[in-house]
């Protein structure tokens, strides 16, 4: 399948109907599902109905928007009215929300066809998609490997070319890491840029929705569609939404790109091949006209520890509502209501979710709050200041997105800390709330790897601009083909 903006042009010009595009996407997904298991449910009837309405509107001379007729997959963490929304958890296996997430409503208002709900780590807790209660998703570049997580299903289906665009969420790297593993573009916007309403919460102060796409232009278009203040989300920011496509550029003249020695040391120790790839990427940026400058982020080495106090603390409270009283799983018991709570939660949550609820409950407990949660918030402020300082010296920071390419299924499931370390390069940006993107940067041991580009708050246009120039100049995503791919790409 082509890029989303190309599909839109073809649909608007009536070279192809939205219904045909939708059927092709559904066919591709169905063909690949036995291998990839990227979806928790397909919304075929709903999608075809919307596509037909859209075709009628186009026939009547309407312009249904910047994503007209483009099939889009959404992570199963986004509520879609009347459709089962599980967040990858057994505890919500039967939950049908009576409303849609703002991001979903805005995608549909832009003409997108929501094609299905993608697999994910349970409640977005994980970096491999193996924590889904409904089975793991596989990587289209090598089905014996993970697609990354938690937005693994979205990354896998876009990476395989079944849909050009998917919606993911990123709390500590859940868009960027799987984007890197599946050779696609993944953008975590500024915290507050996209409404969280109707997006099932993991860690409220970190969660952010963003596009996962085959190309940078589609990321810019999708962000434009979903961004903007939402009166239903008090943390969404009333900041003007620019035309993100207007900032796309093909040279980097006059752009200062920050390189972070703290990150480079870490990648050099983790994987010399990775370090070499990123060095080439920085040289490519320089060749495009950018000036490389060294910037320090002295506190990022505390990022992981900080994150694993704040995120579990928030999740322990956010997930308290899953008690079997009002919706979702209920384990019936003859005993009292607290026994029902306990048995429901024991049966409904997977081990990683339980681990984080316990971590977070502990971190918030009387006597520990100051030492853990409060201290973590202070470090978070320091990390935020690091980025503020760095952006006085550069426009965009370039860094690794990940410390290795996609790993084998099961390789890290027994070692939670090894799994947590996968987010080493992505967590600091989440803590600082700044926008960051992963763009395909080439291959290590024949597996794709992403380059992370980070900008100041609300400077997504600048980040997308650099990513576009790099993508156009290097063409890494187009230079090879995944092992598992949609027929249209063959």
């Amino acid at each position: 399948m082509r890029c989303g903006h190309e599909i839109r042009e073809a649909v608007i010009r009536r070279q192809v109907s939205a219904e045909e595009v939708t059927r092709a996407a559904l066919a591709s997904i169905e063909a690949l599902e036995p291998t990839l298991h990227a979806y928790l449910c397909l919304l075929a009837e709903r999608a075809l109905k919307h596509a037909r309405v859209l075709d009628q509107r186009i026939a009547a001379g309407d312009d249904p928007g910047p994503l007209a007729g483009v099939p889009v997959a959404v992570k199963d963490i986004f509520c879609v009215a009347g459709e089962v929304t599980t967040a990858g958890s057994k505890i919500l296996a039967n939950f049908r929300p009576p409303y849609s997430a703002t991001a979903v409503e805005r995608l549909e208002a832009a003409g997108a066809i929501i094609i299905g709900k993608t697999n994910m780590d349970e409640f977005a807790m994980g970096s491999s998609c193996e924590n889904s209660a409904f089975g793991e998703t596989r990587n289209p570049w090598d089905p014996s490997r993970v697609p990354g997580g938690s937005s693994g299903g979205s990354a896998s289906t876009v990476g395989a070319g079944s849909v050009p665009i998917a919606l993911g969420t990123d709390t500590g790297g859940s868009i960027r890491e799987p984007a890197s593993f599946c050779n696609i573009v993944g953008l975590k916007p500024t915290y507050g840029r996209v409404s969280r309403y109707g997006m099932i919460a993991f860690a409220s102060s970190l969660d952010q929705a963003g596009p996962m796409t085959g190309c940078v232009r589609d990321a810019a278009i999708t962000l434009g569609a979903i961004a903007g203040h939402d009166p239903r989300d008090a943390t969404s920011v009333d900041e003007p939404v620019p035309d993100f496509c207007a900032g796309l550029r093909t040279d980097l003249n006059g752009i200062r790109i920050g390189i972070v020695p703290e990150f480079e040391e870490h990648i050099a120790q983790s994987d010399p091949d990775m370090a070499a790839l990123y060095r080439r990427a920085y040289e490519d940026l320089r060749a495009l006209g950018a000036q490389l400058v060294e910037v320090h982020l002295p506190h990022v080495r505390y990022g992981l520890a900080t994150y694993y106090l704040i995120a579990p603390a928030e999740c322990s409270s956010n997930l308290a509502r899953y008690d079997g009283v009002r919706y979702g799983l209920r384990v019936e018991t003859d005993k009292d209501v607290y026994t029902m709570f306990e048995q429901t939660r024991a049966a409904g949550f997977g081990p990683e979710v339980k681990r984080r609820i316990i971590l977070g409950t502990y971190a918030l407990s009387a006597g520990y709050y100051d030492a853990y949660y409060l201290r973590a918030q202070k470090v978070r402020t320091l990390i935020k200041r690091d980025f503020d300082d760095a952006f006085t010296q550069c426009d965009v920071i370039a860094s690794p997105a990940v410390s290795c390419p996609a790993f084998a299924l099961g390789a890290k499931t027994a070692d939670p800390v090894a799994m947590y370390l996968m987010d080493y390069f992505t967590i600091p940006m989440s803590l600082a709330g700044v926008p960051a993107l992963s763009v395909p940067a080439g291959y290590v041991r024949d597996l794709p790897v992403g380059l992370q580009l980070t900008g100041p708050a609300f400077a997504e246009a600048g980040v997308l601009g650099v990513a576009y120039a790099y993508e156009q100049a290097t063409g890494h995503a187009q230079s090879r083909r995944p092992a598992v791919m949609a027929a249209a790409h063959r």
Partner: protein, 486 residues
């Protein structure tokens, strides 16, 4: 001073009492969503994804609720925080949709201030904060654990709730009652709440400890819950003070715990020990941003405050020549005070207006289960009735009958007087005839009067009034009786 253990019986104790009052705010919509805030609707009809805590739903602060809390704070002399925030209070309970309550922990909207009792004593406040109410569990029977089924009504979940915490400045149960009455008066003046304790829009928990009289010791604090009226607060405190006195006099220690008031049995019983106390794991709610209030908005709210009960009482004392007792009662509720002033504006008789409102009007309201808000009687109707009595158009006794009809049916007094033929009889001939009948029918009383029994005269007056169904002009009856009996 040292005390010998054996002399413990001799020690006199005094109570130290602090109150936590929860007030449901009379906003149009709930605290964090657009659902209507209304009492008594069909269960679970005033709910939405937000107040049901559905996955992905998010709270948005109701600015009107913030305004009402700040106005309460301003009326009570609190300082209003320029920056405050909302926190999550985490605990599991089935009437709480998210299993946490959005409340304010360490940065409440208002701090300081005081409630002034009628005596002039100031009961200092610690803080006033804003939170959301929970739903209501309706048990199938017995205690929750034993109930066959428990139903939950979430209509109340998310209703804005203001918590007013006093310092332990109260020294008797009666003072606690006065505090609640004074606070209720301020709240009703501000119009921030319905302040109906029986509907739960005003709820009160009490903290009480004892210390030897004259010391500044800090005794072990007991929290009492489940008091459903001002009277039950006073009773529960009386009971608890006696209980703790007995414990101390027996040479034992008071154990820190939460106790529940049992209205029917008139006692408190332990429900939660210190060891069982929740760790609420408060932390700032990441779904909400800190609340900033600038000086302009606070000044604007201050300018909108109405005249408050104590100021109004002092003005009533000075302007209307009322007794302190009357002024206190009339200014206890804003509706009563405003009704009174409207009546006075129409008839110019403040003393009579006070008498009627605090006497016959109050009795008629109670009899028909009405309140001044709910009655259709208009101030000008009562004013007309007062003028009719003053001008001798109706007798005092007939006016009482008219008053009840005014309260019950909201009709014009002239209409009622005409319809019921209640106009006062001042016709001399008719009065003479009436008096003649009474004398003829009560020879024993006449004889008794003539032997010097003054009481007998009043009896005969009463008989004449009764015979005329209260319509006879009582002064003319007296004159005629005196003339006939010599």
């Amino acid at each position: 001073m040292t005390r010998v253990l054996g002399a413990a019986q001799a020690v006199a104790y005094e109570p130290v009492i602090g109150l936590e009052v929860h007030v449901e705010l009379a906003t149009e919509s709930k605290m964090f969503c657009g659902c209507r805030n209304r009492f008594g609707a069909e269960p679970n009809t005033l709910v939405c994804p937000v107040c049901l805590g559905l996955p992905g739903s998010l709270p948005v602060v109701n600015r009107r609720a913030v305004e009402l809390v700040c106005k309460t704070g301003l009326a009570l002399g609190c300082s209003i925080a320029h920056v405050s925030k909302f926190d999550r209070k985490n605990y599991f309970y089935p009437d709480m949709p998210k299993n946490y309550q959005i409340s304010q922990y360490d940065m409440p909207l208002a701090t300081g201030g005081a409630v002034t009792l009628p005596s002039g004593k100031r009961i200092r406040l610690t803080r006033i904060h804003l939170e959301e109410d929970t739903g209501k569990n309706i048990h199938g029977g017995g205690a929750m654990a034993a109930a066959s089924a428990t139903l939950v009504d979430y209509n109340r979940a998310g209703v804005p709730l203001m918590e007013i915490v006093s310092q332990p400045d109260l020294t008797s149960p009666d003072e606690a009652g006065e505090y609640l009455a004074a606070l209720k008066a301020v709240l009703s003046y501000l119009g921030v709440s319905d302040v109906k304790m029986h509907e739960g829009s005003l709820r009160c928990d009490a903290n009480v400890s004892l210390r030897p009289v004259g010391t500044q010791d800090v005794g072990t604090k007991i929290e009492i819950k489940n008091m459903n009226s001002f009277r039950s607060v006073v009773r529960a405190l009386q009971y608890e003070i006696q209980r703790q006195t007995d414990v101390l006099r027996a040479g034992e220690r008071v154990v820190q715990e939460t106790r529940t008031w049992d209205e029917e049995r008139g006692l408190t019983y332990a429900t939660r020990s210190k060891e069982q106390a929740h760790d609420y794991r408060y932390f700032p709610d990441p779904d909400l941003v800190p609340l900033h209030l600038d000086d302009e908005i606070v000044a604007a709210w201050r300018a909108e405050l109405p005249e408050l009960p104590l100021a109004k009482r002092d003005r009533f004392l000075a302007a209307y020549g009322l007794s302190r007792y009357e002024a206190d009662l009339l200014t206890g509720e804003r509706t009563t005070a405003e009704f009174f002033e409207a009546v006075v504006a129409h008839c110019g008789e403040p003393k009579a207006a006070a008498n009627w409102l605090l006497g016959d009007v109050r009795r008629a309201l109670d009899k028909h289960g009405l309140t001044l808000d709910a009655t259709r009687m208009r101030p000008e109707h009562l004013a007309t009735l007062i003028c009719q009595v003053r001008d001798g158009v109706v007798s005092g006794r007939a006016a009482k009958e008219v008053c009840e009809i005014l309260v019950r049916d909201g009709r014009h007094p002239a209409e009622v007087v005409a319809e019921r033929n209640l106009a006062q009889v001042s016709d001399r001939v008719a009065i003479e005839a009436l008096v003649g009948e009474v004398i003829a029918a009560n020879p024993e009383s006449v004889a008794a009067y003539r032997t010097g029994k003054a009481k007998a005269f009043e009896f005969l007056v009463g008989q004449a009034m009764k015979a005329s169904r209260g319509r006879a002009n009582v002064e003319l009856v007296r004159t005629a009786l005196r003339a006939r009996l010599g």
